[in-house]
């Protein structure tokens, strides 16, 4: 064996490993609470993402490579979320991460992605601050395709005051970050419509008796209750209202669509209204196919959280489109592609036509969500005319 054959062998080996590297799967992080109180949202989101990735992989993957999801359960715990972010970045070396249900977890995790220049597609968490954590940074690696709280609070105020003509709203919120920030957004949104809440009441997560809060709202003469809280406590509000034989409409943030609210409140929760980016109804062929595929893969006839599933599904397609356009799995290149997405991405929530720009990382604008209504254990459209005809796909206006 002479030196030539050796070199030749080495070169072939290089080529072989080279092709092997090209066929390596693209690793994408997937983080959310898959157990615990927020798990109905986390699991639906995860299943939506997995469904989209399976479709993408079946169609040949991205850049000729398969997408491999690295799933991690953050249990809705901020500190665990931060650990998972570091594990996904340093150990798994993901090219991007999809996920986050809880605003606190997002806040605790995103810093690591920002530092590592790895894009994050926030597909469920709604805290307004999430896409604005680093106003002075050169580039912002956080994107979102969920309805931010500032959009939701304006929608809630508009729905209650303008559409239904209520003038004496009472605000009930929990004492978490989510509830307190939501309340201040809501008060500001009401002030723009020259309405002042007749009372603002709060409660702790885990409280089992809402009699005092509901009585105060009743005593103040409220004609509608606006909420910012999560499922179990929202159910206690509905139950306390039923117990006291006092029925006014319940309008609140999208958490009123949580399974823990719908199941625990039962009939008492019927009529509750909340902004939804996605209603589980086959209003377009694309949505019909998505709903059918979801139930075929995961069983059941009701998604635990349709909004989370749909946004999870869309987030995977947005990322795939960006990687395809970037022709690279480099963080900064994916970022550039996301901020200037050339292809229209037809999702189930909306059709994304240049959803992001360098200054705007929110794919969901205030015209996209519609109001959902709890009816017989499901969320249906509160105003079916909002989704009728050509209004079925509501697209972000060109800004």
């Amino acid at each position: 064996m002479n030196i030539k054959t050796l070199l030749c062998g080495a070169a072939t080996l290089c080529l072989l490993t080279g092709t092997a590297a090209a066929a390596d799967p693209i690793k994408v992080g997937l983080a959310g609470p898959f157990t615990g109180g927020s798990s109905s949202m986390g699991v639906s989101m995860r299943d939506g993402v997995k469904l989209a990735v399976a479709e993408i992989n079946k169609a040949g993957g991205v850049l000729g490579r398969q997408i491999q999801l690295i799933e991690r359960d953050d249990e809705a715990k901020n500190e665990l979320g931060a650990q998972i972010a570091q594990e996904l970045i340093n150990k798994e070396q993901v090219v991007a991460t999809l996920g986050f249900i809880n605003t606190g977890v997002g806040q605790a995790s995103q810093r690591f992605y920002q530092d590592a220049e790895i894009p994050v597609l926030n597909n469920v968490a709604t805290g307004t601050v999430l896409t604005r954590q680093w106003p002075d940074a050169k580039s912002n690696y956080v994107f979102r395709n969920a309805a931010a709280d500032s959009i939701q609070s304006a929608m809630i105020a508009e729905e209650a005051v303008v559409r239904h003509g209520f003038k004496k709203p009472a605000i009930l919120n929990d004492a978490t970050n989510y509830g307190m920030l939501g309340r201040s957004d809501l008060v500001a949104a009401l002030a723009k419509l020259n309405v002042k809440p007749v009372t603002e009441e709060k409660f702790n997560v885990g409280d089992t008796d809402m009699t005092a809060q509901v009585l105060k709202a009743k005593g103040a003469g409220a004609d509608v209750i606006l909420t910012y809280a999560i499922g179990p406590e929202l159910a206690q509000i509905a139950n306390a209202m039923a117990k006291l034989g006092w029925k006014v409409p319940l309008i609140g943030s999208w958490t009123l669509s949580m399974a823990t609210f719908i199941d625990t409140a039962g009939a008492n929760g019927d009529g509750a209204m909340m902004p939804q980016t996605f209603i589980e109804a086959p209003t377009t062929p694309k949505r019909a196919a998505f709903i059918a595929a979801y139930h075929k893969a995961y069983g059941g006839d009701r998604m635990p959280s349709p909004v989370s599933a749909a946004q999870g599904y869309d987030s995977a397609y947005l990322l795939a489109a960006a990687i395809t356009q970037a022709k690279s799995t480099d963080g900064p290149k994916i970022l550039a592609a996301l901020e200037n997405l050339q292809t229209r991405v037809e999702g189930v929530v909306t059709t994304y036509d240049r959803p992001f720009s360098a200054t705007d990382h929110e794919a969901i604008s205030s015209n996209i969500p519609v109001f959902g209504l709890v009816k017989g254990g499901r969320v249906v459209a509160a105003h079916p005319e909002d989704l009728a005809g050509d209004k079925a796909v509501r697209v972000k206006p060109k800004g």
């Binding site: 885990g206 005092a212 009585l215 008492n268």
Partner: protein
């Protein structure tokens, strides 16, 4: 006036739950001067075992109210075993060696273990407990009340009454009372005080498990449901007095009513404050609790 009546009724039904858990603290404290800091977890385990049993029975196409009644003996038996486990693993050794604080750490540790166990068996989700009674509220005069809230009050009172009758009328009950008054003297009289203490732990967990299945239909069931309740019951036990069975129930009602009244008349944000202020006042004015007998410690 109507609102006041409503608030008091709602406060009492919450307070009875605190009382039932605190009653468990009182049972073991009187016989052994120790208590189970994992009482909230005993409640949670009782509720979850009850949930599984009820769902199983409903799966056998038994009506919910009947399933609920059939579940009660299972849960009470489970509480009994769980209490014995706590006593044997966590408390017995500490009593034997005369350790002042060993049982505190041991029962807290057992509580954490039970919670992790429950998280692994039942998951971390809050689960809906099927209500045996109608969820439509009754209207009595100006007051609206859920049937389950009445059941909570009656159930916990029945438990306390049963224990009281047992203590007064039966020979075994007298052994418990004797151990409570003076463990050493009772031992000299031939009473197996170790067994009495084990028994009091079993009874303590039974009362917690019962409280668990009573409160579960009006809230949600889950591995973390016991933490807050156990802590509040601890405050109740101190307010009412750890040596008085009546005291803990009155203490429970005081705390429950104080919470709803503050929530309405002051601010819902300060709902938990008056209970704790009351706790501080009781501790500084009458450390043995409102109904507590002053203990004389002979050296």
């Amino acid at each position: 006036m109507d609102i006041l009546a409503q608030l008091i009724v709602s406060g009492i039904s919450v307070g009875m739950i605190y009382g039932a858990i605190a009653f468990g603290y009182q049972l073991t404290f009187s016989t052994s001067q120790t208590l189970n800091f994992g009482q909230g977890e005993a409640l949670m385990l009782g509720a979850l075992v009850g949930l599984t049993t009820v769902n199983f029975l409903i799966g056998q196409s038994i009506a919910t109210p009947l399933a609920y009644l059939l579940m009660l003996p299972v849960v009470l038996a489970f509480g009994c075993v769980q209490g014995v486990v706590v006593e044997v693993l966590g408390v017995r050794q500490a009593i034997r060696t005369g350790s002042e604080s060993g049982w505190i750490m041991a029962t807290i540790a057992l509580g954490i273990i039970f919670r992790n166990l429950a998280e692994n068996i039942w998951g971390r989700d809050a689960l809906k407990f099927p209500s045996p009674l109608t969820e439509t509220a009754l209207t009595i005069g100006p007051v609206h009340i859920q049937p389950m809230e009445i059941a909570i009050t009656l159930g916990t009172l029945a438990l306390a009454l049963a224990v009281e009758v047992f203590n007064r009328k039966s020979i075994y009950g007298k052994a418990v009372v004797a151990t409570s008054s003076d463990r050493d003297a009772a031992g000299l009289m031939g009473i197996n005080t170790r067994l009495v203490i084990t028994f009091s732990y079993a009874l303590s967990s039974v009362s917690a498990a019962l409280a668990g299945v009573l409160v579960a239909p009006v809230t949600l069931t889950g591995a973390n449901m016991g933490a807050v309740l156990g802590l509040k019951a601890f405050a109740v036990a101190i307010i009412g007095g750890l040596s008085s069975g009546l005291g803990v129930f009155v203490g429970g009602m005081i705390l429950g009513v104080a919470e709803t009244l503050t929530g309405f008349y002051l601010s819902t944000g300060y709902k938990d404050v008056p209970g704790l202020v009351l706790l501080l006042i009781v501790l500084s004015v009458k450390p043995s609790g409102l109904f507590g007998k002053k203990g004389i410690k002979k050296v």
